[in-house]
Amino acid sequence: MFQVNKEPKKTHTNSFYKKNQHGIILIFFYIFIIVLVLINLESFGIHIEEKFHRSNGFYWLSYISDKFGYEILKLISDEKLKNIYDYTLAPVNYYRQWGIVLDVPFSLIEIIFNLENIDKIYYTKHFISFLIFLLSSFFFYKILIVRFNNKIFSLVGLIIYISTPRIFGDSFLYKDVLFLSLFTISIYYLIKLVDKNSLKNLIKFSLFSSLSINLRILGLGLLFTYIFLLLLIYLKNKELKIFITNIFKVFILIFILNYCFWPFLWEKPFENFIDLFVMLKRDLVKARVLFNGEYIYNRFLPSFYLPLWIIVSTPLLMILPSLFCFFFYFIRLIKRFFNIKEESYFFDLWRSKKENIDFIFLFIFINFFLFLIVLNASFYNGWRLVYFLNIFIIYFIIYLADIIFKKLKNRIKKILVFLYCGLFIIALNNTINIFIYHPYQSLYFNYFLSDKLKNSFEGDYHGISAKSFFLKIHSYEPNKKLNIAVASYTPLQRGLEALDKSIRSNFNIVGQNYNFAHYIYKNNISEVDSKLNKKYDIPSNFLKIYEEKRSGSVIYEIYKKTQL
């Protein structure tokens, strides 16, 4: 009796485990990552735009509270806003068009949980930003599952998505990677919507597209992609009514949702929306950027700026297979393009749901790439404004693995093992780089570059090294008031907020008044041509005493005055 009762229970547990094996692995994987990040969260610095985003949050929270009559909330927001000050920071109402996706909800969190310590406030925001990034990785995993129907390929794709060094490093900074996260979720719902044209999918797609647009106007590209896909479907099905209704619905939904999420549009929706483009041109960073050893004005960047940056700052093990597969699929699509017939049973550019996903990925990638290059987009600090392109790089890696598997599985039985090993090596390489570069993963450069070449590209634009710099100086002279000069365009004083109040008060930033300084902070961020303009040259009475380096790439340098 005893044995009879016990046996079915065991089988049930086993089958439950087998059924949910990947789910359980995923949950443990996410818990592991979250714990690891929580332990190390405060070893990352804070970035130079934290203050702006905090004031942006309170500015709009005050505005919303005013509109809805929440007087106490408005008073608290105004009070908080008043206390955010930095002499290098432009007034928040000058940059009113910035998105509020994370800034306003976090300002509310700050009030509800009564967060007081400024460093704790920033680190909590970093953590929330990272959680959103993790959430988006799950959506990317789901895209890979739908497309490749291989849980291990998809799991490795997810690991590569999280562990790409620059993306991982930036995932805490709630800017470019936050857009990547929302963009990924939007693509997932775009794929679902194209597969099944339902109102539920349309609402979900519109919701995440609107959030993406709120963060970056580039998010509009998703809307145009959907319209183009509808057009291709119409050319096959010839159902004009469905085509027009869908376009109408998506426009209305995106308009309504954007209007709801964006208080900037509340007063004059159309006028302010058009103003966005004017402001985009007005507020673009206009400075010189260090690119390949030259200080180039960012309005005149060469066409190869974007591809070269992607190549030098993405692991080679990711770039090579991705490029190979991209061209493979591109040629395949071109062949299909030239075989289009007036009447056909299948869709012209794809044959199945899976091929449709390939087409969506290639179409979005090529369009964004061409759009940015042809319009001479004014990039700065590498390719971080378009970090969302990373999902295309990873997608094509997994696609290549899938092609190899399908082509060779009948000839070489053990091909799957080799493929898993190959993908595992890519993920492992990323993970190793995360440890090597910690906490400067966002400044990763490919290991095949010489040290000289690594340092001929812009480095720590976000000033995340400021915290490490101040702590280092503090360790040299713990209880002394020190004047710090900055041989860089980085507004270093903003980094002080990452420190404990007692340490913070020891430092006085004197800009480029080197005569008054005890120490100088230097990195390679300069808005002028430093070869000709000497404003960031270190005076001869200062001596280099420390250099923070990662894999040959100089993060920052410390100079100390040798004589008074």
Partner: protein, 87 residues
Amino acid sequence: MKIFFFKSILIFFLFIIAFHLTFNIAIKKINQKIFEITTKENVEKIKNQIRDEMKSAIAKDNYISKDDAKLISSFFKKIMKDLEINF
């Protein structure tokens, strides 16, 4: 109609690429040249070049050749003469 649509897309893309590779890049280069001439850094560069040239002139025993010295001297004399007459 379908074939026409796809052909139009192809031509559009080819046109965009051709436009960028020819007109767009050329215009960008011209604008860059104009911009670089007027920058503070370039003015500083020219000043430095003049300073260097002056330093090298001081270091040399004979900076101006005999013929040039004769020519410049005659030119100055002519200018002085004209100034005296017309002033």
